[in-house]
Every structure is written in structure tokens, then in C-alpha cells.
């Protein structure tokens, strides 16, 4: 019980510290921006460790962070190989292909009203093709290696990017459009100069949501057949062996990679949509 109480205590103190940092004058410094989530995360870990120990949760249900850290420390090469297989080959390539395809589809739908009215309802169908159904089919079609994982990712990220892009392309206000009309801008020009920039905040929404979907997709697809390497392969195999420390080691890698991926897209967003009120810090 003292473990539990201690953990809760640490959590309370850290939350208070975070509130202080966030409210302080230094809240906008890079250090604070880094410190707050780190402190938050560390407290989560302490809480976790404390609860697991205090409540004597068996390691085969939930291992404590310390055990996970120990596993990560000794399994570097395996984790790296899995990461390359799943993230770099599967998720990234699928993400790029899927987002590009969705984007182009949105452009086509935007350009030809006929397509917009026809494609969008159909496009929303693709959204709900559950990975459990698509993954076996795509493994059958594209083989066991990363290509089928990329294909699963393509299907998963397609819809969020499509809806957001279509919505974004409709976001330019009436006067801005009228301006383009007075210039007799071609549809292409008005797209490049007005609609796309105005759509960027929406498009990035889709891109951000898709980062995490891509990673989940690539990992889960490996449950349905894979070579003997990959994060999903390792996770499902280790669950069967009750090697939960390995499972969580992979999850940790996934969470880190996913967060960095998301962060990279969010940074790009900052740079591209600096003009949007949400980025100008209107508070």
C-alpha cells in the first residue's frame, strides 16, 4: 500500500509543478515545453510502477516500467530491426502513398463536382473497412512482407485525409473566392493560390490523425501474417509466450516513434500555417 500512496503523492506533486511551470512566464520556452510533458510522463511511470508493485499485479498481466526498461536495454538490435521493418518500410511508405492518393482524390473531387458528389459518399465507405477484414485480404494479395502492411496503411489513412482535404478546400471565404473570380483565375490557379493555402489547417488535421493510424495499421496488419521480424510480429509472438516485458518494450518504441512522427508533422504544420489564428497564439 505504501507504494500506492507514494505513487499518488508523487503524482500530485508533479501535477502541481506542471501547473506552476505552465502558468509561469517561462511557459513558452523550449525547456518548459519539453519539461511539462516529460514530468507528466514520468509521473505516469512512477504511478504505474507504484501501482503494479503496490497492488502486486502479476508481471504476466502488466510488467512494471522498470522491467520494460531492462528489456529495452538488452534488446536494442531486435527492436531496431523491428522498427525498420514496421515503421520505415510499412508505415512510412503506406502513409506517403495513402496521403498522396487521398489528396489527389480530394483534388479531383473538388475539381469535378460530379466526382465530389459521387466519390465522397463512396469514399466514406473505405473509411470503415476494418483492418481485421482488409489485412488478411491484403496479405493474400501483396504477400507477407512490408508491402501488404503499406497497403493496409494506405487504406487506413485514406479517409481522414480525404474528408479533411475536401472540407478544407471548401474553407476559403466568399470574398477571397470573389477576388479570384475577378481575376478570372483558372481553377488550377485559384486552387494553388487560394484554396490550398486556406485548406492547409484542415489538411494537416488529417495528416496528424493519420500519423498514428499509419503506425497502428502497420503493426496490427502483421498480426495477420508477416515475416519473422516486425513490431507487430514481435508483439503477438511475445504475448503468446507471455513475454509481456517485450510486448511493452515494442509498445514503447511504437509510442516514441509515433510521437516523433506526429511531432514532425505538427512542426511542419506550424511552418506552413503560421498565419492561422490557432498558430498565432490568439489564446
Amino acid at each position: 500500500m505504501s507504494w500506492v500512496a507514494g505513487a499518488l503523492g508523487v503524482w500530485a506533486v508533479a501535477w502541481w509543478a506542471n501547473l506552476r511551470i505552465a502558468a509561469s512566464r517561462h511557459a513558452d520556452t523550449r525547456a518548459a515545453r519539453l519539461a511539462v510533458p516529460v514530468i507528466f510522463g514520468l509521473t505516469l511511470l512512477v504511478l504505474w510502477e507504484g501501482l503494479v508493485r503496490g497492488l502486486a499485479v502479476p508481471g504476466v498481466i502488466l510488467p512494471p516500467p522498470s522491467a520494460i526498461a531492462a528489456r529495452i536495454a538488452v534488446s536494442g538490435p531486435i527492436l531496431w530491426a523491428d522498427f525498420v521493418q514496421t515503421f520505415v518500410k510499412g508505415a512510412l511508405s503506406g502513409y506517403v502513398i495513402g496521403c498522396t492518393a487521398a489528396f489527389l482524390t480530394a483534388l479531383a473531387a473538388d475539381r469535378f463536382d460530379f466526382l465530389r458528389r459521387g466519390l465522397l459518399p463512396v469514399g466514406s465507405f473505405i473509411a470503415a473497412l476494418p483492418i481485421i477484414g482488409t489485412a488478411p485480404i491484403l496479405v493474400m494479395w501483396f504477400g507477407f512482407d512490408w508491402q501488404s502492411k503499406a497497403a493496409v496503411v494506405v487504406v487506413m489513412v485514406f479517409f481522414p485525409v480525404l474528408v479533411n482535404t475536401v472540407q478544407g478546400l471548401a474553407a476559403a471565404d466568399a470574398m477571397s473566392r470573389d477576388l479570384m473570380r475577378t481575376y478570372a483565375a483558372t481553377p488550377g490557379q485559384s486552387l494553388r493560390k487560394l484554396r490550398l493555402p486556406a485548406a492547409m489547417p484542415f489538411i494537416f488535421n488529417g495528416l496528424k490523425i493519420s500519423t498514428t493510424l499509419a503506425l497502428i495499421g502497420a503493426i496490427v496488419a502483421e498480426f495477420f501474417g508477416s515475416p519473422t521480424v516486425g513490431m507487430g510480429f514481435r508483439i503477438s509472438t511475445s504475448v503468446g509466450q507471455l513475454a509481456l516485458d517485450m510486448v511493452w518494450a515494442e509498445i514503447t518504441v511504437a509510442a516514441l516513434a509515433g510521437s516523433l512522427f506526429y511531432g514532425a508533422v505538427a512542426l511542419t504544420e506550424r511552418a506552413v500555417t503560421f498565419w492561422h489564428p490557432s498558430q498565432r497564439g490568439g489564446r
Binding site: 502479476p58 504476466v60 509472438t237 504475448v239
Partner: protein
């Protein structure tokens, strides 16, 4: 009535007909038991379920159970209805595989999730590396079905005598067009569907009593099922909420499963030792590092159940 929860290793099918029959025929009820049968699936590790308190008894394969035991989950085998292994490696004859000597350079489909051990120890016995390359085999983590073989993505895949093998046949491939390697024949068989509980369960006399009645009733169910495969298949179908199984397939499965069943569900210590030996030899990454000792099984329940 005493309540018991049984976690199966796989989805509702004739592989578990004995339990469904016992349930359906009222054998459990007669034994004053109220049994809940939970189907398994690709994402369910019975060991994990029992560790979380989601079940009192699980149907598990021995390699996975022993691995869990070594990881600190004290599983004990209380009965072993399946005396023989049904696992095979099935190859397309046209791929040119005739014997283990043809394996190098091939792609083989293997079940993981704790079911890879028999294969790994066989390969290590044969001295064939499993990391691919010229004289090794390329291993695929096989999904749940036989597509890799039909689509020629693998030269050989894992099958069970009672299930996947027949799916290949049903797909239109004749037995002559197949080459099969039975793990039992290769001496690397491991014990499959056994009943496992946690150590602590056996410390509770009331539970032990319930388990004795449970095993007795279950074996009654198995005996009935083996004798009446069609009725057993019927019962399995009724219990399958997915509505996806077919009667013919289940009847055939029941017939095949009948061939694997032992006399009375009593674990054969010799088979236990063979399994352990094969697991200990499991190549570079052995499943278990030490002999689990005899605490990993008990005859107490079956002995009592037989009376």
C-alpha cells in the same frame, strides 16, 4: 452448483467438442457444475486470461503453458484429453519438397503465438537455420488460414490434421498433390490441448473437488462426442455464435479429433518428458531454459475423476 469458467484456446469448433457436449448433454449439470465456456481466438492467450482471473481452467498447449510457468505464472496440467499431436507441416508436391532434406531455401509458414516451438525444435534437430538464406528456411508468420499454400506464397504451411489440412483438400487439392510431415512421426511432437489451472486453485479443497467433477464430466463429454460425431458437430454449431461453421467440416473435424483423444485424459509422464526435451532443445532461443519439474503436472484430479 459450483461455478467454473473454461477458456478455450481457439474459436468454437469440434476441437473442443467434448466440453460443448458435456455442457449440452447436461453432464456438467449432473455433476453439480455451472460451467461457462469462453471461446478463444487469434488474439486471446488463455494463459493471460487465467492470470487475470478471467477463467478457472484453460485449454492450452503444453509449450505455451510451460513457457508461462517459467515466466512466473504457475500453471499446472490437471488433465490431458489429447494424447497425440495433430500438428503437421503440409507442402504442395509440385513445389518439389519430398523430405526434410529439401527444406533449405524454402519458405515455410509457421504458427507463432506460442505455437512455434515444435517447429523450431524440429529445425534445430535437422540443423537447418530459420533465418532464411541458401541453406536455411525462410519462415513466415502464418495467418489463420491456408491461403499461403494455395496462393503459393509458401512451399509448406502448418496444418492440423483435423482442420487446416481439410481446408486445403476442400479448396480442390487432392491428398496426392500434398506432402505432409507429421510432428509425431518426427519425434518432435509436443502435447496439445490439455487442461491447466493455477497452483493456488489446487490448494483450495472445494475447487479441487469441483475440478474433479469437471474433468470427469468433460471426459464423459469427449467419449460421447467421439462416439457420436454428427451429434457433436451439431452441438458445436449451435454454440457457434458467428454462424460461420459448416456441418460437414465439423463432423470431419470431430472424426479426426477422435483419433487424437487418449483413453481417460490422464497425462502420460513419458509424453510430458518428450515434450520438455523437445522444448529444451529449441535452438538458439529455447522456449524454456530449465526442466519445469513434476510440479507442472498432477494426476490428483484425473485419478479422483476416474473413480
Amino acid at each position: 452448483a459450483d461455478e467454473l469458467t473454461l477458456q478455450l484456446k481457439w474459436v468454437t469448433q469440434a476441437q473442443f467438442a467434448g466440453y460443448y457436449v458435456a455442457q449440452d448433454k447436461g453432464f456438467y449439470e449432473e455433476a453439480d457444475l455451472d460451467v461457462t465456456i469462453k471461446p478463444g481466438g487469434p488474439d486471446i492467450a488463455p494463459t493471460q486470461v487465467i492470470a487475470g482471473g478471467g477463467a478457472d481452467v484453460v485449454v492450452e498447449w503444453m509449450p505455451a503453458a510451460l513457457a508461462a510457468r517459467e515466466r512466473g505464472l504457475p500453471l499446472v496440467n490437471i488433465a490431458q484429453p489429447f494424447a497425440r499431436s495433430g500438428m503437421m507441416l503440409t507442402c504442395l508436391a509440385e513445389s518439389g519438397v519430398t523430405g526434410p532434406e529439401d527444406f533449405p531455401g524454402r519458405t515455410l509458414g509457421v504458427w507463432f503465438f506460442g505455437n512455434e516451438y515444435p517447429f523450431l525444435s524440429w529445425m534445430s534437430q535437422l540443423g537447418i537455420p530459420t533465418e532464411g538464406g541458401e541453406d536455411g528456411v525462410t519462415v513466415l508468420k502464418q495467418g489463420f488460414n491456408v491461403d499461403p499454400l494455395l496462393q503459393k506464397q509458401a512451399d509448406c504451411i502448418s496444418t492440423m490434421t483435423y482442420n487446416e489440412y481439410w481446408q486445403v483438400i476442400d479448396a480442390g487439392i487432392t491428398p496426392e498433390q500434398l506432402v505432409t510431415f507429421n510432428y509425431t512421426d518426427r519425434g518432435v511432437a509436443t502435447l496439445e490441448d490439455g487442461l491447466y489451472v493455477l497452483d493456488e486453485t489446487l490448494e483450495d479443497p472445494a475447487m479441487v473437488d469441483a475440478l474433479e467433477r469437471f474433468v470427469a464430466a468433460s471426459m464423459r463429454g469427449w467419449a460421447y462426442a467421439a462416439e457420436n460425431p454428427e451429434e457433436a458437430a451439431e452441438i458445436v454449431l449451435e454454440n457457434d455464435a458467428t454462424g460461420a461453421q459448416t456441418f460437414e467440416h465439423q463432423v470431419r473435424m470431430m472424426e479426426e479429433v477422435g483419433k487424437l483423444l487418449g483413453e481417460d485424459g490422464v497425462l502420460d509422464p513419458a509424453a510430458f518428458e518428450t515434450t520438455v526435451a523437445s522444448l529444451l532443445s529449441g535452438g538458439s532461443d529455447p522456449v524454456i531454459t530449465a526442466h519445469p519439474g513434476d510440479a507442472a503436472w498432477t494426476h490428483a484430479i484425473t485419478d479422483a475423476a476416474l473413480n
